[in-house]
């Protein structure tokens, strides 16, 4: 191994990157854009549920119930309607997500101490919003029915609930640390997956082959500049997360950067392996998409809890490096985990990186086919 050869390849690659400022700009723009979207635009918190009310009772009690819904902050009453048919219209067209109809004898029954019923219709097509909305509705009516009920049902057990790590249950705190893993997986796929394929397609690979550079020197040299970009991207994302979005960083930033480097190495090497196998930029781009972006986005637990997935998929997630990085990021950010709690994840990522490097080295044929 000659360091000077690695340096030479790295320098050549760096010049090539420098000559393509558009790609470079996009490499830095991508994380910023994703952080902004996830930080400002997207929230899993459900509120402002568009609701229509069909109040057949029109009494002070029914209006009180409607007021409870309004004041909860979760529901936005967009219209009072006066016919059952209109519910269909609102829900079918998607103008309303929930419809609450209060029966005619609602207040009469409550005053008499009889049980009354409340009809609730939700648009279940978005199952997540629907589940949460139903939860809110049952909590609100439960509270209300205790309030109006003179019979005083004694609730014998008092659940004392405490939430750790993210006591306000802000989805931002949960998503953004994991998002850094997704960003890195995407960048790694977009940047390195084309490097070797491009050389083959343009015919410059023959020139590289004719030099005395060894395969692993070539891979390492091509890796270095992209590693630098990836590292800057992570540092930038961590700073944005902390300063702009106020995500707590409870653990050590130093540890975060070290462990991130290990993941970046693995991700970039994976891109290179794809590039070596694919040989065509079109194929490489498509493979990179299914091999790195989709799993990192969907199966890493960054947003969709792995424990909710069916068993076979849960097993597959063990083979997805981004999953381990998401655990590391969330651990360091939200729980302040020390290194010894993250030992397994670190080991897996290191082994993965080295394995892919060796594989890439073996797959690359230094000859013209």
């Amino acid at each position: 191994m000659k360091l000077i050869r690695i340096k030479a390849v790295a320098k050549k690659e760096l010049i090539q990157i420098w000559r393509d400022p558009l790609s470079l700009a996009m490499a830095f723009l991508m994380p910023v854009m994703l952080l902004f979207i996830f930080g400002y635009a997207i929230t899993l918190d459900v509120n402002n549920i568009r609701t229509v009310i069909y109040d057949m009772d029109n009494s002070s009690l029914s209006r009180e119930l409607v007021a409870e819904f309004r004041e909860s902050g979760y529901f936005r009453v967009i219209e009072n309607i006066y016919a059952q048919k209109e519910i269909d219209k609102y829900i079918d067209s998607g103008k309303a997500i929930a419809a609450i109809s209060i029966p005619q004898n609602f207040s009469k029954k409550i005053r008499k101490g009889e049980n009354t019923e409340l009809q609730v219709i939700v648009d279940g097509s978005d199952s997540n919003t629907a589940t949460i909305a139903l939860g809110y509705i049952s909590a609100i009516t439960g509270k209300y029915s205790q309030k109006v009920d003179g019979r005083n049902i004694k609730i014998a057990i008092d659940p004392r609930i405490r939430v750790w790590y993210n006591p306000e249950l802000k989805s931002k705190n949960f998503i953004i640390p994991g998002l850094i893993a997704v960003i890195m997986a995407v960048i790694a796929a977009l940047l390195t997956s084309l490097t070797f394929a491009r050389e083959w397609e343009r015919g410059t690979m023959e020139q590289l082959i004719s030099t005395p550079v060894k395969t692993y020197e070539l891979i390492a040299g091509k890796l270095l500049p992209y590693f630098l970009i990836g590292f800057i991207d992570v540092a930038m994302s961590v700073m944005l997360a902390k300063i702009l979005f106020g995500v707590p960083l409870k653990g050590s930033p130093f540890l975060l950067m070290i462990l991130s480097s290990i993941f970046i190495f693995g991700g970039l090497t994976m891109g290179i392996l794809i590039s070596i196998i694919a040989r065509s930029q079109l194929v490489a781009s498509q493979v990179a998409m299914i091999a790195t972006f989709l799993p990192a986005f969907l199966l890493s637990g960054f947003m969709f809890a792995i424990s909710n997935m069916p068993r076979p998929l849960q097993i597959i997630t063990h083979f997805i490096p981004a999953k381990y990085f998401v655990t590391i990021l969330k651990g360091i950010f939200l729980k302040g985990s020390p290194f010894k709690l993250l030992l397994i994840e670190t080991t897996v990522l290191s082994v993965f990186g080295l394995l892919v490097f060796v594989l890439a080295n073996n797959k690359f044929k230094k000859r013209i086919v």
């Binding site: 393509d20 996009m26 991508m30 994703l34 979207i37 996830f38 400002y40 459900v46 568009r50 829900i91 998607g94 409550i110 101490g113 009354t116 019923e117 409340l118 609730v120 219709i121 939700v122 648009d123 279940g124 097509s125 199952s127 629907a130 589940t131 949460i132 939860g135 509705i137 049952s138 909590a139 439960g142 029915s145 004694k154 057990i157 008092d158 659940p159 004392r160 609930i161 750790w164 790590y165 993210n166 306000e168 989805s171 949960f174 995407v186 084309l194 343009r202 694919a278 065509s280 930029q281 194929v283 781009s285 498509q286 299914i290 989709l294 969907l298 969709f304 424990s307 909710n308 998929l313």
Partner: protein, 368 residues
């Protein structure tokens, strides 16, 4: 003119599928995405790993734990022996919830005093936690109610009758799989179109195309028709797959699906062409595609409802073709909507598509 377009389309197909792996890719990508979105992206909360710390060791405390398990939402995976162990389990992420029953629980219940249970949640996943807290609350309340059910009239005064339409079991897959059609079409058409044009430039074959009698409009059609065909194929594939494997209902007029796909393709292929006029290399085309694709997916209502976004972002979604197509496609599959309800979306999509296509074609001709 038709003959020249036909030849161009044939050439394009030969070029795409010369690499045999592309054939597989055109098949495999939609299938994998359907599988993953159908199975993985479930926001349905169940099997929450739970630690049960029982200091009371009574039949009552065990009955409560059984209630949690029987609900299907919680799975008791650990029975720690100390609070430190609970902390450790939560820190390591082994469990998401810890249920602690203190000593004296059963005695309090027997003496008709208020008893308390301690419930700890890992709030890192705020969405799961919100849903789980609600479930836990309900389970505890129901247990309490059943215990005191010896007293008459113990039920709550208001009986809630919830019904959810279109997706009564509230399954995520019914919501996600139709959306995958929109996503796959967008990604595949964007990438294939933009890269196919840029590749000609990168390799230097664009000059050859320009010396042929092909007119710019024919070149544009030749470069977009093959990918439109692939998009239609993907749509059919995912629909069949979704219906057979995932049991996705198709309640609306199925013919509306290809019609609206065609309208949707106008904007998507238009954006692809536009990217090809900006990008000089395939690397740039790939990155630019992603720079468009990511926000388009995130700000479409595919996974995150538009109405939860701040107002500024809600306005941005109006120029996102994916937003309209998702409403159409979900309307057709789940709600059984016809053109009577969906025409505003289809019209918006058509206008958007015509604008994007015109702008891109003009730019494309200028660049030739």
């Amino acid at each position: 003119m038709l003959e020249r377009i036909k030849q161009m389309v044939i050439k394009e197909f030969i070029q795409i599928f010369r690499d045999k792996r592309m054939k597989a890719i055109v098949f495999v990508i939609p299938l994998i995405q359907t599988m993953v979105f159908g199975y993985a992206v479930t926001t349905d909360v169940n099997n929450i790993p739970t630690a049960f710390y029982d200091l009371d060791r009574s039949s009552e405390s065990r009955a409560l734990a059984r209630r949690f398990e029987a609900s299907g939402y919680f799975r008791i995976t650990n029975t720690p022996g100390s609070p430190a162990e609970i902390r450790d389990l939560l820190d390591r992420g082994k469990v998401t919830m810890a249920l602690q029953v203190n000593r004296g629980f059963s005695e309090d219940l027997k003496k008709n005093r208020n008893a308390a249970v301690q419930i700890l949640f890992d709030g890192t996943d705020s969405n799961t936690a919100t849903v789980a807290i609600d479930y836990a609350n309900r389970i505890v309340k129901e247990y309490a109610k059943d215990l005191s059910s010896s007293a008459p009239d113990a039920s709550e005064a208001i009986d809630l009758r919830p019904r959810s339409w279109y997706n009564p079991e509230l399954k995520s897959k019914n919501y996600n799989v139709p959306g995958v059609i929109a996503m796959v079409i967008m990604l595949t058409s964007l990438l294939l179109t933009s890269m196919a044009v840029v590749r000609e430039r990168e390799i230097g074959t664009m000059e050859q195309l320009m010396v042929t009698p092909l007119k710019p409009i024919e070149l544009i059609l030749g470069k977009t028709i093959p990918f439109a065909l692939i998009a239609f194929f993907d749509m059919a594939l995912i629909t069949v797959f979704g219906v057979i494997i995932f049991d996705i209902p198709v309640r609306g007029p199925i013919l509306l699906l290809p019609v609206s796909t065609a309208i949707y393709l106008l904007s998507v292929l238009g954006v692809g062409l536009f990217i090809s006029t900006i990008a000089k290399t395939q690397q740039q085309a790939l990155m630019a595609t992603f720079l468009f694709y990511m926000p388009a997916v995130l700000l479409s209502g595919f996974m995150f409802p538009v109405e939860n976004m701040p107002e500024v972002f809600q306005y941005i979604t109006y120029v996102n073709p994916l937003r309209y197509f998702l409403v159409i496609i979900r309307g057709i599959f789940l709600k059984g909507n016809g053109i009577g309800i969906l025409w505003p979306q289809m019209l918006s999509l058509l206008v958007l598509g015509l604008v994007v296509m015109t702008v891109s074609s003009l730019r494309f001709r200028k660049r030739l």
